[in-house]
């Protein structure tokens, strides 16, 4: 295996690891989402640095040129991460929907004008009138 591709792979995986840790430190990335990234980075770095393991792996799955096995593993992790994010996005979509529904129902209960802020003074008498109506009915 060419030493150049090994150096590129080590620098790339090492840079990825550092970037992930720095993002977590700056709180741009939650630990919850960083762990799979970190695992990917550590495995890629280990395979890049430890030739024997990479060659063994290449032979096991029938890849003639060992660096291709590294790309294969990296691609597998990318797919895994994408799936992980699709699951996360789906959960967030559902939660946003529930939040929007709860908020809309709450606004309806509070009264539309007050929920919107009612900063306009001229809107106040109307608001008070509407409130007295709702409190009268409730």
């Amino acid at each position: 295996m060419d030493i150049r591709i090994q150096i590129v792979a080590i620098v790339g995986a090492g840079g990825l690891l550092l970037a992930i840790l720095e993002l977590v430190r700056r709180r741009k990335l939650l630990e919850r989402y960083a762990l799979l990234w970190l695992f990917s980075g550590v495995v890629l770095l280990a395979l890049a640095a430890w030739r024997g393991a990479l060659e063994e792996l290449a032979q096991l799955v029938g890849i003639a040129y060992p660096p291709n096995a590294l790309f294969f593993v990296a691609f597998a992790f990318v797919l895994l991460l994408l799936l992980h994010f699709s699951v996360a996005v789906s959960r967030l979509t559902d939660q946003t929907k529930v939040l929007a529904q709860r908020l809309a129902l709450l606004e309806e209960r509070v009264g539309p004008a007050r929920a919107a802020g009612a900063v306009d003074d001229t809107a106040l008498p109307e608001l008070e009138a509407r409130e007295s109506v709702t409190s009268g009915s409730g």
């Binding site: 840790l21 430190r25 630990e31 762990l35 970190l38």
Partner: protein, 250 residues
């Protein structure tokens, strides 16, 4: 005991219908000065109804937030309602409200958080050996990080003063928050101390930390601890110690 101070007991609960009534009743008997707020983390059972029937106020987020988000809801409530003290008592019945008085007696000026510990004396608590080993690893690390012995950093039986309430209402860790919270407290130059308590085995329901998740728990908390060490120190507010002493120039 300073009776003029207002106090809130926050009870995070997820599917705790077996124990929640007992916890609230016990709080009302043994700690009547505490208002009780149950954070029902979108349980699928009767937790909310039972808690209300037992006389607690109930806040129910529209979906499950996890223990960190649920407890932080309590901090925000305590902050906005102007409470001077807040205690966290888990809804699963492992914390004994009778022992709240010990936490209250330990709360003093200059102490921002009192933590109930199971491990201040040996042999007090019999958890599975793997769980105890994990707790002791965290305890050992934290003790070195903050330069003060911490014996039970995963205990959620904690009493907070107004300063700690403000800090955690603003910023509280997401998953498995207890261990990181101790480090945050230290970084913000707040102080904690521990007091010995006894805890019961869970009365029902299931722990938020199943055996399958415990490996994730260990890794996540270790990562958070070490990265927490590298985080920037917080903004210093008036009256706090300055990070760089201005006195050196005089």
């Amino acid at each position: 005991m300073a009776s003029a101070r207002t106090a809130l007991a926050v009870v995070p609960a997820y599917n705790e219908s077996a124990t929640i009534e007992g916890v609230i009743r016990s709080l009302r008997v043994h700690a009547p000065q505490f208002d009780v707020l149950v954070i029902d983390d979108s349980s699928t059972d009767d937790t909310s109804r039972l808690a209300r029937a037992a006389g607690a106020r109930v806040v129910r987020p529209p979906f499950n937030l996890g223990i960190g988000g649920a407890v932080q809801t309590g901090f925000v409530y305590a902050l906005e309602a102007g409470y001077d003290l807040m205690v966290q008592v888990d809804g699963d019945g492992q914390h004994d409200p009778k022992e709240l008085s010990k936490l209250l007696d330990t709360m003093a000026p200059g102490v921002d958080m009192v933590c109930g510990s199971r491990f201040l004396t040996k042999g007090g608590y019999l958890a599975p050996i793997s769980r105890r080993a994990g707790i002791h690893v965290f305890a050992w690390l934290l003790s070195r990080f903050i330069g003060q012995p911490v014996t039970d950093p995963t205990s959620g039986f904690r009493l907070y003063n107004r300063r700690a309430i403000k800090l955690f209402a603003n910023d509280y860790p997401h998953d498995y928050p207890e261990v990181e919270a101790v480090l945050m407290l230290h970084h913000h130059e707040l102080t904690m101390c521990e007091v010995e308590v006894h805890m019961f085995q869970r009365g029902g329901g299931s722990s938020s930390i199943s055996s399958g998740k415990s490996a994730y728990y260990m890794v996540k908390v270790l990562l958070a601890l070490f990265i927490g060490l590298a985080r920037k120190r917080p903004i210093i507010t008036a009256g706090d110690k300055a990070p760089v002493s201005a006195g050196a120039r005089l």
